[in-house]
């Protein structure tokens, strides 16, 4: 382990970054880091500088000051010769997210950053930049692994895997939260059971919970039905699944699936929030302001407790574990976005899916996924087609492709309202979506 790893974080001005730094510190013995490059754009210059200082203080506290921390706006410099690149930027900032939420709600649709009309808008802002980064990586660090947790993670990863040669893996905290929640339910160590999930990003089902030689999935289901549901991320309000539906599903839907199984209830909730404390984006923005006030404190030299409420917990945990698993050929089971290649029957080979995989030095090897029940498969196929058409529209800027994509999405209402909402979305985002000009 004589290598001095160069790790580059794009969008490092994010309030999440301290968790990522903490994860790297924890893995001091596993990952021989030499350089840490924190990159952001002009608009994020102040934030990334605050993060840079905090990072140095955190490293110092842990006697890891030998790691060179670079704060820069020069992405090419940061990418050159990198071993791992973490991508966690937000195109259009939180303002973009809030705008997506508000436009969706205005037209009677659920507003969310990875689903529906909001997810579409986010993808169209983000994918062109993600592909730009990928092209730079092909040139400047062709052997590097790209860990994408920029949302919408599934579509962004699909765009990169379809349109570049970069070795990219998409990550999400949703399956990590399921895994940790189930561990608690089973009173087991995470390594002692195998959770297998499959589906698309924010659209996964647990398929197996193997523990002590048995599949305990149904026991977990009953536990959830009994009211004890630790599988829901902090940023998603508690809720109840339709009882018989869940009991007979033979799978455990991830928390985001309530957007599809119980759309009207979510809609109500969102409308209530929007006229109360604000949309999720607005809440997060306020939270972020508070977090940066904390980060500025020159006494602070560890990840503050407050970050946990932020919603993305375990993202960085997952990213660090993934880097270590690749670097050390650990063969752990992780849940990642990767090329389908036959893993989920009924989806194209070249699309991206979120599946439990064995992580090796050569990247993720997905576990085989037992064929889905037909009705669930149909949902997945429709959503994936929405995603793939969205990726296409994000690249070509073709409005009809965008329209065709959105028609397929169950969270989208069709008709004149959709045409109007789509036009408004594009016009409002035109600076970030020049491909639609």
């Amino acid at each position: 382990m004589n290598k001095n790893l160069k790790i580059t974080i794009i969008g490092a001005g994010s309030s999440y970054t301290p968790e990522l730094i903490e994860g790297l510190i924890k893995r001091n013995n596993e990952l021989p880091i030499g350089e840490l490059w924190l990159v952001d754009i002009e608009d994020g210059a102040e934030k990334v500088s605050i993060i840079g200082d905090l990072t140095r203080r955190m490293l110092a506290k842990n006697n890891m000051s030998h790691i060179d921390v670079h704060v820069t706006l020069d992405r090419r410099l940061a990418l050159e010769g990198a071993d791992f690149v973490c991508s966690q930027f937000r195109a259009g900032c939180l303002e973009g997210r809030i705008r997506d939420e508000r436009i969706s709600l205005k037209y009677g649709m659920i507003g969310q950053e990875t689903n529906g009309l909001g997810g579409f808008a986010n993808a169209c802002r983000t994918i062109p930049i993600a592909l730009e980064i990928a092209k730079e990586m092909e040139e400047l660090c062709p052997e590097a692994w790209l860990l994408n947790f920029t949302n919408p993670s599934g579509m962004v990863t699909e765009a990169i895997l379809k349109h570049s040669k970069v070795k990219a893996v998409g990550l999400c905290n949703v399956p990590v939260i399921m895994q940790k929640g189930i561990a608690k339910m089973l009173d087991a160590n995470e390594e002692d059971f195998i959770l297998q999930v499959a589906g698309l990003n924010h659209f996964i089902w647990a398929r197996q919970v193997l523990h002590e030689g048995r599949d305990k999935l149904q026991e977990v289901v009953e536990e959830i039905l009994s009211g004890n549901d630790p599988l829901v991320p902090q940023n998603i309000p508690k809720f109840k699944w339709p009882e018989e539906l869940l009991r007979n599903m033979g799978m455990i839907p991830c928390a985001y699936l309530r957007y599809y199984y119980t759309s009207e209830d979510i809609m109500g909730q969102e409308l209530e929030e929007a006229s109360g404390e604000g949309t999720r984006g607005e809440v997060v923005k306020a939270m972020e302001n508070r977090l940066f006030d904390i980060y500025r404190n020159p006494e602070l030299n560890e990840k503050p407790k407050e970050l946990e409420k932020r919603g993305g917990q375990y993202y960085s945990e997952a990213a660090c574990e993934l880097m270590s698993s690749i670097f050390n050929d650990k063969r752990t089971i992780m849940h990642v976005n990767t090329r389908n290649n036959g893993a989920i029957e009924g989806l194209p080979n070249d699309c991206t899916v979120e599946v439990s995989s064995m992580i090796t030095k050569s990247g993720p090897l997905p576990l085989n996924v037992a064929p889905f029940p037909k009705d669930t498969l149909r949902l997945i196929q429709v959503l994936k087609e929405f995603e793939s058409l969205t990726v296409e529209a994000a690249i070509t800027g073709d409005r009809n492709t965008a329209h065709r994509a959105l028609i397929l999405n169950p969270l989208v209402t069709t008709g004149t309202v959709l045409e109007t909402a789509l036009n408004e979305t594009i016009e409002a985002n035109l600076d970030y979506m020049p491909q639609f000009r």
Copy 2:
């Protein structure tokens, strides 16, 4: 042609029947009818008797009084030895339809007799009776052809084809209207071009319009876009398709597809109607009352003009042409609901689809359907899965299956609202859906 055909009409008390009689009269030279059996249930006794008298007057006017007309409530008697059985009953009468519409609207969903929650309810009332009839046919007239135009025609036909050995064909007027409309646009005789449609009942697309050695589909599309759209049935209000969507589709969606492509506009329209002249069911009911007043007139000896506004025009035309095509091995191209058997790639073999077929003495031989564009296929697959699960729920009375079916339907809103609406639907219809008790 020495056979004296026995034709049996189930639900003959329908206001449509005079059109059917007219169709049979027109085909006097093609169909050697001996007996005509008009069957209905107790509740329809008066109406079927009025229809019986009118039928006799119509036949007399055309010198066809040699045909024995039987009016009966004894279905077994009417089925025994029949050659053709036309099924056009409405389980739960128009009251059932109106109830479906009102419940759907109350919960913010589109209310319609073949789609969404209303279509589900209609299927659950109808399928058990349809299967009862099929079982009687297996016993009493195993060689007879069953022409089903009882709605929801696609699901009812699927139930029969999956669960009996009866030779059944499902019919609908939607493709007939497309065919006649396109003939007008092309200024062509219907026999001089070939329209190929494919999809599911009330969910079809025209795939080819072959005329004079060329596919004129795109010309028809442009004509529709120019505002001249004779493809819409009388009972569906005029509307405009999203322009670029239609222009680039490479197919012509049937009028019912606006429920999916422009759902919000339909919803608005329905709400307006519901608080105005009444739901479609209510309008039809009023119309039917007026029609029966006319039918009662002992001077009337032909199909009255007023019937054309009823909405189902050409249904009976299609039925008579189908009987003649089968009887005479005419090999005409008709658009029918039949077992998929590979016709539409991506759907199960044993499901029922609506496809253009060559009609022979052995029944319909579907034309091969070129694979659908993937996004359209996904819609069809989802709808078919909704239909197949609905058929299953209609037979088993399993509420969770019903719930799973409805979750898939794009016209249905999920969540607490769906659970409530489903329960209310079942409770309100319990007399007609004992399987759910």
Copy 3:
């Protein structure tokens, strides 16, 4: 019908041509021919001239001398403005066929012009020329229909449909013979029943025999089993199918399928013939010499009886009927090679299959094919993959692709013997297969 059709026959020096002329004469009232162009290459100059003279005498006898008959070696001239192009050339002449047969037999494999190693060699000689013709048609007569009965008809048609825009249909006499044989068995007119076949060229099964409202396939099977088998072409020796296999198949295999179901018996037969009267190619060559002696006779003004023994009977019948069906939009059912496009489930959309189709002015509309039993499907899939790889090898000249193709063919023996036989085949044909240089 005011058009003066221009019909072009490529490879018109074939001994079959008089049958084609007879077919056109018979359809005098259906096809308003203005010009008939008989084309051949330098090597066939004498033969095509003999055929030209005979053609003029046949037309004269039938008072059709108004048709201009052109005999030419200038293919471009002949193609310019053509309405129908019949392609029936033989690349490498009968000498090539004989060579294929002898090489195959020498290495212990069945030698045949459309199957196995011989079919491969024939494809590699023929496809480059067929594509050259197609390119000329794109330029000189882009609206013309190409009727291909140049062997191997399935692969040649696939090459044209995949690599040009020409409207091509492949023809074969095998299904015609089945149709005529079954008509005799049923004592029915050909128009009174519907035979549906499906598969690949020389690799088809009858799937339905619809007559008087019933499928009489099993009755035909029993008749064949009883020893009365008129389904075998004249050029294929009589033989018996394995009894239980045929009885339980639910389909009727075409005569060429005995190459696969009873390969060893065929091998024995071929070896016997090869050391007796000669291979099929050698027999045909002798027959052809005799036929041309007859054709030369200036008294002859009709198709001579002797031609019927030649083996390709009904080819030309099929070609003429196809031209008339297209020209007159007759909507007859014919059995043609056309783009799969979903017709046979389990095969690629862009491959070519042989299926019963309704013939319209816009060309063939295949009937839907019920999914094949899985074991039969596997055979078809393997053969089609052999064909598609052969087409690829014929175009690219890649020996490894050729090897991969042949490994899949059940009539081919693998190993050193195959490598040697393939090399010998390529070397011996190098003048006709420059792509392999």
Copy 4:
């Protein structure tokens, strides 16, 4: 690890058993064995008794005499409460194998115990007994794992997985030999690279050789082409792959695939052997006699060197490693026969495939298999269909199913010769195949 495992070996009179015992001894620290049950049938009574004595001596030498060794002919007693059941019996003994080989060769076909006509015969003798054992396990040790290495391992495992509830895994030494050979080529420890294989038993390809973060498959291919091929089992003579074929395959075929890629060469080799030292079965029989002479020696207390030449080396190694991996949830990658369930795209879910899998306490979790190149897939599909029809014929005793199975097999010649060979095979084996009476 307080459990006293009961391990039962069926067909323990096999000459392989000492290797299995050695494997168990090596894993003394991993597998807490309490009882070892050696079962055989009457005919094997002497041999199993010799093996029992040798086993006790081997255990004693290793200070493991605390393990109770039971030698018995009472299978039910041996199965009762077992934790692991190893099945390695040979129905019809080596005499059956030799008969298969001789009948095949007599009719000009390759004779082999898992492929072609010989594999078919072996399956028909073996599967009824295997299912009998599975039924007993369902009753007597429903939680036990069945490790099947009884040949033909793929078909026997498929029969068990389709027709019983037993937790069965099929094993083979072929992938183990590939793994060890590749380790040597790469000069790597077996744990340091990941070999992924996929296909059917004796019909697999290596798909990936992941080492140090790269796929070194092509390097291994070049090494094989250079003449250094340690991937061939001892019982298969050395040979050369067609060079360009192997170089461009993108996969590494297992040694048994030469039966398909180079069938004629194998045929020559088999004929030479048959008229020289004898068929493989005859050679093995002589070897076995010699081995039992050695085993009888009361001084012998370890696996003798001579066993290695026997051909099945590493079988037992694989079996022991599998037991330990299951018992200890080791999550090693092993190559096993298991239910397809979507692993290989294009094969039925319920069939059995041989795929690299992560071994857990709940059994094997197959790794996802990237879709096969189409030509290879076609071969696999054909072979699998042969296997599945053979399993069906072995259970039903239907001769036509048997015939249909064999027609698909590339190693089988069709026609009269096949009908005769099949009849002779059944007649000669009638005592072991009463289902065909």
